[in-house]
């Protein structure tokens, strides 16, 4: 890491020892600040991406005059609603490399942030129910291996060993022929990641403004000059759009049109039961994935809703389909109960890959198009974006993800690995 980095003094250090010893309450994890009239960098969106970028700008590059502008509370968007799957078993070499960097950062994150983000690398298993998906699994495994990522194709009996509740017996409709097995994958406490970055970014000097909405972006002669917010104007030479599901609306404020459609993605949890499922299980053909949290709840997700919408109310069809498909995989769970369902907004691109980098408006960057898979990407995206802002050049890791690929007609090929198993 760069020695210019301004790793802030945390308000208090966390450790088991401090936990036992402390008698007073803990200091504030982040502070409420006055809105300044100018900042060097304005990050719109207080989700994981905005906060991680603020953190790496400060710690890796010493850029601390940074504002994160969040219209509600931090993590109130996709970052607080996702199903927290972290993995790097993508299909394209560019994708695998990028997500692998993120997994590496996640592995160190608890120590790095002095905040336990509870990254549980219990393995990630993608089931294949027909020979064509088995072929795709092998494809991913082979690309992963070449990139140094631990993935392999396993047999039904190995599946049964890793996840005994899965029914691998003969099924006519969805037989289980094998799976892509990815040991470093797993789940994480999504809120903890958001809070950990917010706490460390605040300590390093960044200002986190919650309940502050960006309502305008000021552009003069094709260059950004600042933003208008619900709490006043800010001038800034660099403005980054990290607003995921809302990114089209925010980009439009700067006159930028994106290849994005916002679609709700739903999820659900069951009541807790005693732990019986270690790995994350994904089935593309059945449009479903399942994991069990440390608290014992099963967390379910599926593919995006069948039509674009900004509504996060969720649907009955979703939990019905989900339940049917889960029971197809684990038929003994019929008596477990769904406790809560919800939805978040996903910024879907045509090629299931993100859009990171400059736009035609100078100083206005985007870090969007994270669709259903952007949580795992947060650390690497924040790190790269910070580097891009600090060095004014595009890091190799994110070079394939520029918006110009759409005008050039050279899309990424990530759909096969990203459409269900986020």
């Amino acid at each position: 890491m760069s020695n210019k980095g301004a790793r802030g003094r945390l308000p208090a250090r966390f450790s088991a020892f401090d936990l036992m010893r402390r008698r007073r309450s803990w200091p504030q994890a982040w502070r409420e600040r006055d809105l300044k009239s100018t900042y060097d960098v304005v990050l719109i969106g207080g989700g994981l991406h905005g906060l991680a970028t603020a953190y790496y700008l400060a710690t890796n590059h010493g850029i601390t005059d940074v504002a994160v502008i969040e219209k509600s509370y931090i993590g109130g968007g996709g970052s607080g609603r996702n199903t927290a799957i972290v993995r790097s078993n993508y299909l394209t070499p560019e994708g695998v490399r990028f997500y692998d960097r993120s997994v590496k950062l996640y592995e160190e994150l608890a120590v790095d942030l002095n905040f336990n983000v509870m990254f549980e690398q219990r393995g990630h298993m993608t089931l294949a129910h027909n020979d064509s998906s088995l072929r795709t699994m092998r494809w991913r495994a082979e690309v992963n291996k070449l990139e140094g990522v631990d993935s392999s194709v396993i047999t039904p009996s190995e599946i049964k060993q890793l996840a005994p509740y899965i029914d691998v017996s003969d099924h006519s409709r969805y037989p289980i022929l094998g799976a892509l097995w990815h040991p470093p994958g797993g789940i994480i406490r999504h809120d903890a990641v958001v809070w950990g970055y917010a706490r460390a970014a605040d300590a390093a000097g960044a200002h986190i403004h919650q309940n502050t909405e960006v309502t305008g972006i000021d552009v003069e002669q094709e260059k950004v000059t600042g933003v208008t917010t619900s709490r006043g104007k800010i001038s800034a030479p660099i403005v980054v759009n990290c607003t995921a599901g809302w990114s089209s609306l925010v980009a439009a404020l700067a006159g930028v049109k994106l290849p994005i459609v916002t679609r709700p993605l739903q999820a659900a949890v069951t009541e807790p039961v005693q732990s019986f499922l270690d790995p994350v299980i994904v089935s593309g053909s059945l449009h479903v994935y399942v994991s069990q949290t440390a608290r014992g709840e099963l967390v379910f997700g599926a593919s995006v809703d069948p039509f674009g919408s900004y509504s996060t109310r969720g649907s009955l069809d979703f939990i019905e389909g989900l339940a049917g498909h889960v029971l197809e995989l684990m038929p003994s769970l019929g008596r477990m109960r769904v406790l809560r369902q919800w939805a978040g907004l996903c910024d879907m691109t045509p090629d299931y890959a993100p859009i990171i980098g400059p736009t035609h408006v100078g100083g206005f960057y985007v870090d969007v198009g994270w669709g259903t898979y952007g949580f795992k990407a947060g650390p690497a995206a924040g790190e790269s974006l910070a580097q891009m802002i600090a060095t004014n050049s595009i890091p190799e890791l994110i070079a394939p993800f520029g918006v110009e690929r759409f005008a050039a007609g050279t899309l990424m090929g990530e759909k096969g690995a990203a459409s269900v198993g986020h």
Binding site: V273, E320, V338, Q341, W342
Partner: protein, 942 residues
């Protein structure tokens, strides 16, 4: 020690019954009508469970579905609401948190731990040393609350039901009953749903006036035409009044009812709210409603000496009921007079209660009546924003959409008469708004003459307002706010102090409201504690998000029966009879082989074989303008296709990516038959319709899906003509009369209206025979029978895949992917850029020079090595492509492949390295032709 009382007037138990059951390994008995928990309470059991985090002893608290301390394992069913579930003889039940044992007094241990287990404690520790994290993880996971899921499959749920009520009433208390009655009396179809086992709501456990009123309502309800579902719950209101109802009382198990309600009337009453003070979770601290339910429904005495803390009429009523049942009232604490409870003391149950002023009263029961939470969940789901009313200390509904109404306690308080008159008006208005077809109904039902017509004008609703109620939420000592998550007042305060200053953040940080009670008991107290901690006005705490389901619903009921169809060809009976090995291909189940695919290949190559290709998509196109449509969707030229001819074509999406391929035949001037890949059939059909509907509505083209209309079989091999000659009438089969890529119609094995075309995937002389589906099996069997002496065999998908690979034919979706543009298939001759327009033309033109990868045939240098499909291809250390198809060729006796390679490695003769999954490598050479076998195609044309 029994706590069962002599007979009570409103009791629901059957004293003549005796139901034995087990709990935590011991034997107990209860009565029919008991819940599991009332039976245990009657047997004198006080400690029912241990809490999630601090493992504190817990007992009955609400004595209904929401009781956070009464989640039991029943048989192999986890998390059963034991204060709601009716007792059945022989039930095997147990509490779920077994450590430490229920009897063991672990207070000392847990208190020592409590500073350690504060909010978000796990975020603050276990970071170092890193290598121990997996161990910590495992330990943390053993703390998971909840029961054990069954490992045994086999719980089927009854089929789902659809309902279309004009008025759906959620909540069968007096207001809900009255709304249902009055809507039905106006001719609406009404469904009334209540969570309890009987209608009546709070009247069930109230006084004699209440019971009288209830009896009257039940009579009227029975006379009205209302469908009543008890032990059922309206768990979600979704877009456009799509309402989820879970009928738990269905005899075959939970059943999902999906209702499209005209108007949803929300009448769930109120939920009693606990007060947070030290010891408020001790066994023996119960809500007033719980005390009255235990006393009046189950004739169970909840204690012997009680302190009653009362802020409303319910508290007084509970005290009266207790006294009536012989419980000594040690103190009646009137909150409206400013008195309150400071803390409850005891180890495994209440022993004494400390009151304001420091006075301590010995008691084994503390009953609290400190206010209400309005369960606005269904309203929130409908987009209503309830507001907090500080006067009455609860949320009141906000502005409602037209198709949702509310009545009863959720709206306001009053006498039974007040509630009923409001509800009656709401029911009338709901009937009016639902715009039901009362006229039709009136004609159908003889008794309908008695029905009043729905009013034309909006019905005026009498006012119903909440009564003032003292603001009792958080006591002077820290107590539990969330009982299922073990979250205290202190925890909420600590979270706010730590910077979690929005309620949403504080809830997530402390996990308050996240547990099985879903916020029903804790949401207000959490909001108030947080408002106090952040120095904000309680009134401004804002509404909370209630997400569906309102009550937990089982996966089995949500799933219902798996209704995903499997498709079989009309020839399936044959395949089954001979024991063909099946393979799943999309929705289709097809024969993969009949024993030995390599032998099948050899048979086809040397004599003749027949394959079932019925899943092939078939679309008939008729009309003057069909050629225009074909020109638009295929990349090649179609206008000159002669009658009787067949042509192959590739279809691209508008980005130039290959989406499907197949042949189209011209039967007559204006009649064509198109085939698609089996999995692409529905998509292509949509695609054709879309072009017609959106771009060319003026064209004369009509489409008919024909896939299921024909059984299709490909007869392939040098003897195919000889075989067909024995069966075909009316078609000359010789090469001159019926050349390759032509189509003829005629009779096969006596079946008229078949069509045949000459083409095939195998590279052999072949005829594809399409037979009206009902006769498919007959023709198939005739072919095999008549061909027996020629050596005719059935062959499956695997043999076909081998042969097509020998011939280098690609499969869309296997040898191409989501980015493969048409040029990359190597079939550039099939892209006609002279046409003014076709789907994909623009992109194909712009990318012609560089379309990324190229599909090539590859042969490993070691002929015995078959690189698995998806093996990666390297040149030096750079990735240059992948194997898309590979097989051992029985015909050539060597391994053969198709591969996608970057263009600079696609030239014939190039040698590349294939990286096998087992980490070995094999060198392979790019071939000149896609076809490994018979590249000239002489066999095919014979």
């Amino acid at each position: 020690m029994t706590a069962r009382l002599p007979e009570r007037p409103g009791e629901v138990i059957d004293r003549s019954s005796s139901l034995p059951f087990r709990w935590n390994g011991g034997d107990y008995t209860g009565m029919a009508g008991d819940t599991i928990v009332s039976a245990l309470a009657a047997s004198g059991v006080r400690v029912l469970s241990r809490s999630f985090k601090y493992r504190r002893p817990r007992g009955v608290m609400t004595a209904d579905f929401n009781d956070p301390n009464c989640l039991f394992q029943v048989g192999d069913e986890p998390n059963v609401r034991a204060a709601h579930r009716l007792l059945e003889p022989g039930m095997d039940t147990s509490s779920q948190t077994s450590w430490p044992s229920l009897r063991f007094d672990a207070k000392a241990a847990t208190q020592a731990l409590s500073p350690f287990l504060g909010p978000g404690f796990y975020y603050k520790t276990f970071m170092r040393p890193r290598f121990l994290w997996p161990v910590y993880q495992r330990v943390l996971r053993t703390f998971a609350a909840g029961g054990k899921p069954s490992p045994q499959p086999g719980h089927s749920s009854p089929d789902k039901r659809y309902a279309h009520p004009d008025v759906l009433v959620a909540g069968g208390g007096p207001a809900g009953m009255m709304a249902a009655i009055s809507a039905a009396e106006r001719g609406a179809r009404v469904m009334l749903v209540d969570e309890q086992h009987e209608t009546g709501g709070y009247l069930r456990w109230s006084d004699s006036d209440g019971r009288l009123a209830l009896a009257d309502l039940r009579t009227r309800l029975a006379a009205a035409d209302v469908e009543v579902l008890t032990d059922s719950v309206v768990f979600g209101r979704y877009d456009h009044n799509w309402v989820g109802v879970m009928q738990r009382s269905h005899p075959q198990g939970e059943r999902l009812i999906k209702a499209r309600a005209g108007v949803l009337v929300v009448a769930p009453g109120l939920i009693e709210r606990p007060l947070a003070f030290e010891g408020n979770d001790l066994p023996g601290v119960v809500l007033s409603g719980a005390a009255r339910r235990l006393l009046n429904l189950y004739a169970v005495r909840p204690g012997t000496r009680a302190v009653v803390l009362s802020a409303n009429a319910e508290g007084a009523a509970a005290a009266a009921d207790l006294a009536d049942a012989g419980v000594e009232i040690a103190a009646f604490v009137d909150a409206r007079a400013g008195e309150t409870v400071v803390r409850a003391k005891g180890r495994t149950g209440v022993r004494s209660v400390e009151l304001t002023g420091g006075k301590t009263v010995e008691a084994d029961l503390l009953v609290t009546a400190t206010g209400w939470t309005a369960p606005t969940a269904l309203l929130n789901m409908a987009g209503v924003v309830p507001t907090f009313d500080p006067e009455s200390s609860r949320f009141v509904p906000g502005e409602m959409p037209d198709d949702v109404m509310a009545t009863g306690g959720i709206v306001g308080d009053g006498s039974v008469a007040d509630l009923l008159s409001h509800a009656a008006a709401v029911g009338q208005e709901a009937a009016r708004r639902s715009g039901h077809k009362a006229v039709h109904k009136a004609a159908a039902i003889p008794a309908a003459a008695a029905l009043a017509p729905p009013s034309k004008e909006p019905v005026e609703l009498p006012t119903l307002e909440p009564e003032p109620h003292p603001p009792l939420f958080i006591g002077s000592t820290s107590g539990f706010i969330d009982f299922s998550e073990d979250v205290t007042t202190k925890d909420i305060t600590a979270a706010a102090d730590e910077g979690y200053r929005s309620l949403e953040l504080a809830k997530r940080y402390t996990t308050a409201t996240m547990g099985p009670t879903q916020g029903k008991l804790e949401v207000i107290n959490a909001g108030v504690a947080h408002a106090i901690a952040t120095g904000r006005a309680i009134a401004g705490m804002g509404t909370t998000t209630w997400r569906p389901p309102y009550a937990p619903v089982s996966l089995g009921a949500l799933a219902g029966r798996m209704l995903e169809p499997v498709r079989h060809s009309p020839l399936q009976p044959y395949h089954e009879r001979v024991g063909a090995q099946p393979i799943v291909a999309g929705q289709w189940i097809r024969p993969n082989h009949y024993g030995d695919p390599a032998a099948e290949v050899t048979a086809v190559r040397s004599s003749v074989g027949v394959i079932d290709v019925s899943p092939l998509g078939k679309i008939e196109l008729r009309g003057r303008d069909v050629p225009k449509l074909l020109e638009l969707v295929y990349t090649n030229k179609w206008s000159k296709l002669a009658v009787g001819s067949v042509r192959y074509g590739i279809m691209c999406a508008e980005d130039g990516v290959v989406m499907d391929d197949g042949v189209t035949a011209r039967f007559a001037e204006d009649r064509y038959m198109m085939t698609t890949t089996s999995s692409g059939a529905a998509g292509v059909y949509d695609w054709l319709e879309e072009w017609l509907a959106t771009a060319h509505p003026d064209w004369d083209v009509r489409l008919t899906a024909m896939t299921d209309a024909y059984a299709s079989m490909n007869v392939a091999g040098p003897e195919s003509r000889a075989l067909l000659e024995r069966l075909v009438e009316g078609i000359e089969l010789d090469a001159e009369s019926f050349p390759h890529m032509h189509v003829r119609t005629g009779t096969v094995a006596g079946v008229a209206d078949c069509f045949l075309w000459r083409l095939g995937f195998t590279g052999e002389l072949s005829f594809e025979v399409h037979v009206p589906a009902g006769y498919g099996l007959h023709v198939w069997e005739a072919l095999l029978e008549q061909g027996a002496d020629l050596g005719a065999v059935p062959f499956g998908l695997e043999a076909q895949r081998i042969m097509r690979l020998e011939k280098g034919h690609f499969i869309v979706g296997q040898d191409t992917d989501g980015l493969t543009r048409a040029h990359s298939t190597g079939l550039s001759t099939l892209i006609n850029s002279d046409k003014p327009d076709f789907s994909g033309k623009q992109e194909l033109e712009w990318s012609e020079a560089d379309s990324g990868t190229m599909l090539v045939a590859l042969q490993p240098e070691d002929p015995a090595v078959v690189p698995p499909e998806a093996s990666q291809v390297l040149s030096g250390n750079t990735l240059v492509g992948r194997i898309t198809s590979s097989r051992m060729s029985p015909t050539l006796g060597r391994s053969i492949c198709l591969a996608q390679l970057t263009q600079d490695h696609a030239a014939p003769g190039t040698v590349v390295t294939v990286h096998l999954p087992d980490r070995t490598r094999v060198r392979a050479r790019v071939m000149e032709h896609h076809a490994h076998f018979d590249p000239e195609g002489s066999r095919l044309r014979g």
